[in-house]
Structure formats: C-alpha cells, structure tokens
Amino acid sequence: MKRRTASDMRTQLKGPLSVLGAAVVGFFGVTTLHSPSSSSVPVSSPSSRTTSGSTTTAPPSSPGATTTTTLAGPSANVNGSAVGQLENYSYGQLAVKVTITNNRIVDLKINSLQTLESYSQQLEQQVVPMLKAEVLKAQGTKIYAISGATYTSEAYAYSIQSALDKLHFK
C-alpha cells in the first residue's frame, strides 16, 4: 500500500472537508442528545448518572428517567461556543466545548480533562509513542478522526448539555 504524506493529502482533497454535523446519539446507552436540527433533545435525568466504572451490562436506566425538551424552531438562530461544566468520569473530570453555527453543532471537543493521579502515574511505564496534537499539526499531519474508546459518554453528554444550556440552545 502506497503511503501518502500529509502534502499528498492536501492536494488530493480539492475542497476542504468540513464537519457539517455532529450528533450525540444515545447509541446503546442511557444518554441521548439529538442533533440540533432534530426536533427533540431527550436527556437522561441526573438520577441515572453513575460515577463508578460502568460495564456494557450495566443495569438499564429507567425509561422514566428520560425527559424530552423541544428545540426552538429555526427562527431562533443560535450561534457561538460554550464550554460545559466539568463532569466526573472514571479517571477524573472532563469538560466539553460545543460550537454552534446556524443551529447546528459544528464542533465538539474535550476542552479540559483532568486525570486522577494514580492514572497519570501509569504513563511512566509506557514505551508506546506519545504523539501530541500540536506536534502533529506543526508537521502538517491532518487528523480527520480519532479512534479509541471515547471518554465515558455520559460525562461527555452531560457536559455537552450544560454547554448547550449556556448557549440557550434548547
């Protein structure tokens, strides 16, 4: 297989790919946020929150724990970015930054992430490459997506929801 360098990629892509949609779906899970263009935002109530390490066979959240909030119509044009509140996950805390343009989530990223001391200490034993985003960017390597078990999606979704609240995006 022919390897492509970052510069090959750039010439190969005629127009820039843009993130045109990001949906938080409660895929096989308890927490659901529709894409902003959808008509409803079901969100699990805080009572279904877990802070311990969950497993794929965790007990179901009660269906009654889901509430539905109707989104404002397209007339209420929401634009902007907001950082959600820090939420606990198994190894620390995270906060998500949400950017909305014309009522559509165009970017979601983890704005801050704090890991527990014991977790960070394991790093010293590692020999696996440690590639930082800034370094990759400086090298011109365009990363299109990240593969990896995502940080506990409940904490992620709660932080997204609080960011959406800050934007008065309901």
Binding site: A6, V19, F27, T56, L113, T141, Y144, A145, S147
Partner: protein
C-alpha cells in the same frame, strides 16, 4: 453510555439543505437502530428477545445474528455475543454496523467524500485516505499512532471506563487498547473487541485474514502488530 456520532461530509455540489437532509436521515437511522438494538431500552427488539418475549426476529436482527456468528467464528470465539452476561448482546458489533448504514445513507445523498465516527469506530467512503489518530490508552490528550484509513477502523480498550470487556473464556483481558482495520466496520468493530480480549492469540488470526490488520498495546505498554499494519510516519517528539 451514549455514543457521540460525528459526520464529516464534503458538500461539493450539494446545497446546505441537501446536506442537512441527508444528515438528518442518517441520524434518524441511528436512532431507529438504537431503538431496536439497545439492551438498555426495555421495549427494544433486543430486550424483548433477551427476555424471551419475542417469537420472531426482524430481518435486521437476522442480519446482525449472521454477522455476529461470522465474527465469532473468525475470531474463534474471542468475540462472542452469546456469552455475555444477561444474554445475547451484539453491542460490540452493532455500533460499527449502524455507522456503516449511516454512511450508506450519506453516500446515497450524492457526496463523494464522507466519514462517520461512531465513538471511535470509523468508516469512510472509499476513494480517499484519511489519517486517523489512535488515542493513547494512558494519556487522553495524546495519540499513540496515526493510521491511514481507506475503509474502516475501530479501537477497543479497557481504559474508557474501567474494565468493560468480558473474556469469554474467563481469562484476563490482554490489551489496554486494540485497533483493527479492514473493509467492513461491523466486522472490524467485533475484531477489535476480540483483539483487546485475546491479544496475541487473536493477532495471529488477524495475520491470516485478507485485508485485515491490527495492533494492540498490552498492560505493560508494549505494542504488538500484524506484519502489514501500516502507520503514518510522524516524528515522535523527544519527551
């Protein structure tokens, strides 16, 4: 445990409205599949089936059965949704399969370049190479590799929320992070789970498969890969 699904679509000649429509359709499909296959929704077809309350299965469920049987077979049981506590649980395959279906919908909308990322399980339309970063299992802000991806890639790990993988044969889970690339995301997704659980035993199986490559990182930080696993060359910064 919701999953964030993000879409990368090249609009090209499509209008914003066209793109919106096709994304809404793709999201709608994901929600319908979630309604059907969620083990957490008591009235999902999967839950009814697990509870012995279903007499027949839908065509979609049959398709998932078949894919699960295939994945279980080629992974020699290291991926086995029938051995999950609580009954048949195809979650390790359905997320990737659903992402594939969402990508098909987007492709039918007329775009030539698109990527669907379902919580780290990624499939792309063929024809381009996308650099995909693999999250470092022990450092959330760093990557451990960059993989040129032309079809599908999935990573399974035990670092997300503690040990959420089940070893079907009762042993220790072998990897803190396992990545598999291949043509079909449904299968790649299942194989990533199998590789995380089985480690070198599964890596040897992948070695023999056409068009499938993979690597995993063991608990002590050593990395093992199939011989044709390709990484993008990036300079590792001096620590």
């Amino acid at each position: 445990m919701g999953t964030v699904v993000s879409f990368l679509v090249e609009a090209g000649d499509l209008s914003d409205r066209d793109v919106d429509e096709v994304l809404d359709e793709a999201c709608g499909e994901l929600h319908r599949l979630d309604d059907r296959f969620s083990p957490w929704k008591v009235e999902s077809e999967l839950s009814l089936l697990r509870a012995g309350r279903a007499d027949t299965s839908s065509a979609l469920m049959d398709e998932v059965f078949e894919l699960c049987a295939h994945a279980s077979n080629i992974s020699q049981g290291f991926f086995d949704p029938w051995r999950m506590p609580g009954g048949f649980d195809p979650t390790g395959l359905v997320k990737g399969w659903a992402a594939e279906r969402a990508l098909s919908i987007i492709a039918r909308g007329g775009t030539t370049a698109a990527l669907v990322n379902a919580g780290g399980d990624i499939c792309v339309l063929p024809g381009r190479t996308y650099q995909v970063g693999i999250r470092h299992p022990l450092s959330p802000n760093a990557l451990c590799a960059v993989v040129p991806t032309t079809s599908a890639i999935a990573t399974s790990g035990t670092y997300e929320r503690g040990d959420h993988l089940i070893h079907p044969f009762g042993g220790e889970v072998a990897a803190v992070s396992a990545t598999v690339t291949g043509d079909r995301l449904a299968i790649v997704d299942a194989l990533a789970t199998a590789l995380a659980v089985g480690g070198t035993a599964v890596l040897q199986l992948l070695e023999a498969m056409d068009g499938v490559e993979g690597f995993f990182i063991g608990p002590t930080g050593s990395m093992f890969k199939t011989s044709n696993m390709i990484f993008s060359e990036v300079d590792e910064p001096a620590l």
